[in-house]
């Protein structure tokens, strides 16, 4: 290998072990990958987030055989993630003809699904350490993980029906995988938010901890997981956690079909243009 290729390989290896992006950063040390979200105000998932998540999962694929856990958490005070960047979605769709906007939405969904599917199926234990607002796409990111550890101020919600949409980042198939259908209907059809205690009661959250303690608890859980044989843990996860690929595809199709309806544009406009202090309340 030439010196330049060695240098390049070392840079890639280094980049795969730590990276500081504009909206997220990660480190890999002692068998644990930590992905920190830090886009103000609350990690809204738009094109910048998607691009950096795609870089992250590429790095993840190269190091996951050496890691036993991935922890995803947020640096932002309001919470883990407030969901899709609705402002960007609205502005971009308004700037395009409808067919082009529809193609753009489908492309975005297919890319975010690829990211979340890779996290969902990753051969290591994935832990979402959440606090505060964990809504919409943020909730879907947490659901892609094997475990959710929530601090007592975490709040979960699928508010998409308020916009004339359904969750589009894989939330419905993953929620159905983890919970009873009655609970899924309640959350989807009412669009209500619920707290960490309720989330634990229904089996969504594995631990509820004190305010600000989710990351610490996730690290302790990762340390426990490290004690087990990696190959056995990977085999166990694959056995007990099916990825509902077909349903995930159908969710994309349904979302795209709904996105073309006038109610969605009206719902997005209302959210984006609102000067109301209550845009996150139903």
């Amino acid at each position: 290998m030439t010196d330049s290729k060695v240098h390049e390989a070392e840079s890639v290896a280094k980049a795969n072990r730590a990276c500081e992006g504009s909206v997220l950063s990660w480190t890999f040390a002692d068998g644990v990958i930590e992905l920190a979200l830090h886009r103000a105000p609350c990690n809204e998932l738009g094109s910048a987030s998607l691009e950096e998540l795609e870089v992250f999962v590429t790095a993840l694929e190269s190091v996951q055989s050496e890691a036993h856990a991935l922890i995803i958490y947020s640096h932002m005070k309001p919470g883990f993630c407030a969901g899709a960047d609705l402002r960007e979605l609205y502005q971009r769709s308004q700037a395009m003809e409808k067919p082009e906007a529809a193609r753009g939405v489908r492309d975005f969904l297919e890319r975010i699904h690829r990211v979340l599917n890779l996290i969902d199926a990753a051969p290591l234990t994935t832990i979402a350490a959440v606090h505060g607002v964990t809504f919409g796409g943020g909730f879907e990111l947490a659901l892609a993980c094997d475990l959710i550890i929530a601090d007592k101020m975490a709040r979960f919600c699928f508010p998409e029906l308020r916009l004339g949409l359904i969750p589009g980042f894989g939330g419905i198939p993953r929620l159905k995988r983890d919970l009873g259908n009655a609970v899924v209907r309640d959350l989807l059809l009412t669009g209500r938010s619920f707290n960490a205690s309720k989330a634990q009661q229904i089996g969504l959250v594995s631990q509820v901890v004190g305010e600000g303690e989710a990351l610490r608890a996730a690290r302790a859980t990762a340390a426990q997981i490290k004690k087990f044989d990696h190959a056995t843990a990977v085999a166990a996860k694959k056995f007990i956690k099916p990825i509902p690929y077909e349903e995930l595809h159908r969710e994309i199709d349904l979302f795209c079909e709904l996105f073309s309806q006038p109610a969605v544009e009206a719902g997005l406009r209302k959210f984006v243009e609102s000067t109301d202090v209550q845009p996150y309340l139903p």
Binding site: M153, R155, T190, S193, N195, Q278, P279, L281
Partner: protein, 80 residues
């Protein structure tokens, strides 16, 4: 079981502590969005605090049109 006034008093205590304002500045009929200068995300934080404190579950759609502590207390009271 708590009375409505006890519930209201505890809500004012919790709101004052959570948003770090003197309790004397809060009155039951104030518009808490204006008085506390909070937005909907912060309101959800307060709702979580109240649910944890009173051990109730209050769907957030029940907060539609609610902007004062007295009405909020009524909603909580109905779930005790």
């Amino acid at each position: 079981m708590k009375t409505g006034d006890q519930t209201l008093n505890e809500i004012l205590d919790l709101a004052a502590a959570h948003f770090r304002v003197p309790k004397e500045k809060l009155s039951p009929d104030d518009d808490f969005f204006k008085t506390l200068g909070i937005d909907s995300l912060q309101t959800l934080d307060l709702l979580t605090k109240l649910e944890n404190h009173f051990h109730v579950e209050l769907p957030d759609y029940e907060l539609q049109g609610v902007s004062d502590f007295r009405t909020l207390a009524g909603k909580i009271q109905a779930r005790l």
